[in-house]
């Protein structure tokens, strides 16, 4: 884990122990930023899903968790990046019930529902970058 500045941490993710570490880091930042308990749990769970996707599909990647400010709001920004095989059909991946066969889906539609801003970039062979923001209420 690299600490880039006081409020940004970057985690290499290559094992499932890394998945747990990343989400615990996310939760602790969320707590510090003043998110309520339910939102803390949502952020940690969302990070868990993204980190797991990296481990399962790309073998390795990184998750960057940072504080973000815009206008008068404070929030958490999470960017999950990998250089794996990428997603063929993003639209399908973002539909509830999508499955790649050996697992029950990427958890992306659910994640999108619980955050305030969400975006995903991918192309076959070009890895995946998922970015989300959740604002403190």
């Amino acid at each position: 884990m690299q600490v880039l500045d006081q409020a940004t941490t970057c985690h290499g993710v290559a094992s499932d122990a890394d998945v747990v570490r990343a989400r615990q880091q996310g939760r602790s930042l969320a707590t510090r930023l003043g998110f309520g308990r339910p939102d803390q749990a949502l952020i940690a769970t969302a990070i868990s899903e993204l980190a797991r996707n990296i481990v399962n599909y790309a073998k390795r990647g990184e998750i960057e968790i940072s504080e973000i400010r815009r206008d008068n709001r404070t929030g958490v920004l999470v960017v999950a990046r990998d250089q794996g095989p990428g997603i063929d059909d993003i639209q399908a991946a973002m539909t509830d019930g999508f499955s790649t066969g050996d697992s029950l889906g990427l958890g992306l539609p659910g994640t999108k529902r619980i955050v305030d801003e969400f975006d995903i970039q991918s192309a076959p062979g070009q890895g995946v970058t998922v970015r989300f923001v959740k604002w403190v209420l």
């Binding site: 309520g36 308990r37 339910p38 209420l137």
Partner: protein
């Protein structure tokens, strides 16, 4: 005070145009303004006497007398009233004049002085003045009548302003009260061990619904509840968003081992809930809290 006055003016539309429009509506012309000005010295003369008589009249009524608890208040009000009535015959009808009239409406609303008292007061003054005018101008009753008619137009112009602002201020007060009610935290009542009653009141926007859910789930944990009765009789609008919040709450409660019963819903709302996946067996559609609680107690008995 300044702020409320100008927002009232805004309520009445843009300034000059609205004043011109009102004057036209009340058929007030330059001639009317001249006539009331003619009355000014006479009004000055009789003002104190008429106001004294008016307060004797007022203090003879219990509910009005109650408003004037002590001498200090009475003297201040009388002075204010003297100014107000003399302005009536100033023949002015500008923004300042209008603002003063508007302010009166707001003061009355705040002090709980209803339109009946206000109109009664105005009327009393007018008829006193009318009678005295006739006596003073007994040689020219026709002219006295013309003067009086113009005065009456001005009086009604005033009253319309004051009453409109009174009504607007009332509405704002009511809205503020409604907002307060809808922001009250929802009580979570323990009817008996393991059984909670949650009477949900007001509008259920996302923010409030989320806060309510978390409060409820915390209560399930701390009070070890097994059955919840969610009474939504007091929820103002049950649309699909509210229905979804309800469903989410019930599902989360179930994960914590608590069953839910929803009461206080119409048949159509019940149908909408069933459509989005709320189990029909937990919906008490009689809108009857009593039966909902009975059903809840049965459930509870089944679980212990």
């Amino acid at each position: 005070m300044e702020q409320t006055t100008s927002s009232s003016i805004d309520d009445l539309g843009s300034q000059d145009q609205s004043i011109m429009a009102r004057l036209a509506w009340c058929a007030i012309e330059k001639a009317d303004l001249e006539r009331v000005r003619e009355l000014a010295p006479f009004a000055e003369d009789i003002a104190d006497m008429v106001i004294e008589r008016f307060y004797e009249h007022v203090l003879s009524f219990d509910h009005a007398a109650a408003m004037f608890a002590n001498e200090g208040i009475i003297e201040r009000v009388k002075a204010g009233q003297r100014r107000y009535f003399l302005e009536l015959t100033s023949g002015r009808c500008d923004e300042q004049y209008v603002q003063n009239r508007v302010r009166i409406g707001e003061i009355h609303e705040r002090s709980g002085i209803g339109p009946d008292l206000y109109i009664g007061a105005y009327d009393y003054y007018l008829h006193q003045l009318g009678r005295l005018l006739l006596e003073r101008q007994s040689d020219n009753p026709r002219h006295a009548f013309e003067l009086y008619l113009s005065l009456q137009k001005m009086a009604h112009f005033d009253m319309a302003l004051a009453l409109e602002t009174y009504v607007n201020a009332r509405e704002r007060t009511i809205e503020a009260q409604q907002r307060e009610i809808s922001e009250l935290p929802t009580p979570v009542l323990q009817l008996k061990e393991g059984l909670l009653l949650i009477p949900v009141v007001g509008t259920l926007d996302s923010y409030r619904a989320r806060a309510l859910t978390i409060e409820l789930l915390d209560a399930i944990k701390s009070l070890r509840a097994k059955v919840l009765v969610l009474d939504i009789t007091g929820v103002s609008a049950v649309d699909s968003a509210v229905a979804n919040h309800l469903l989410q709450t019930m599902t989360a409660a179930r994960l914590m081992g608590a069953h839910s019963i929803v009461t206080g819903i119409s048949v159509s709302v019940a149908q909408a809930l069933v459509k989005i996946g709320v189990g029909g067996d937990v919906l008490n559609t009689f809108g009857d809290l009593q039966r909902g609680i009975e059903q809840a107690e049965k459930l509870l008995a089944g679980t212990i």
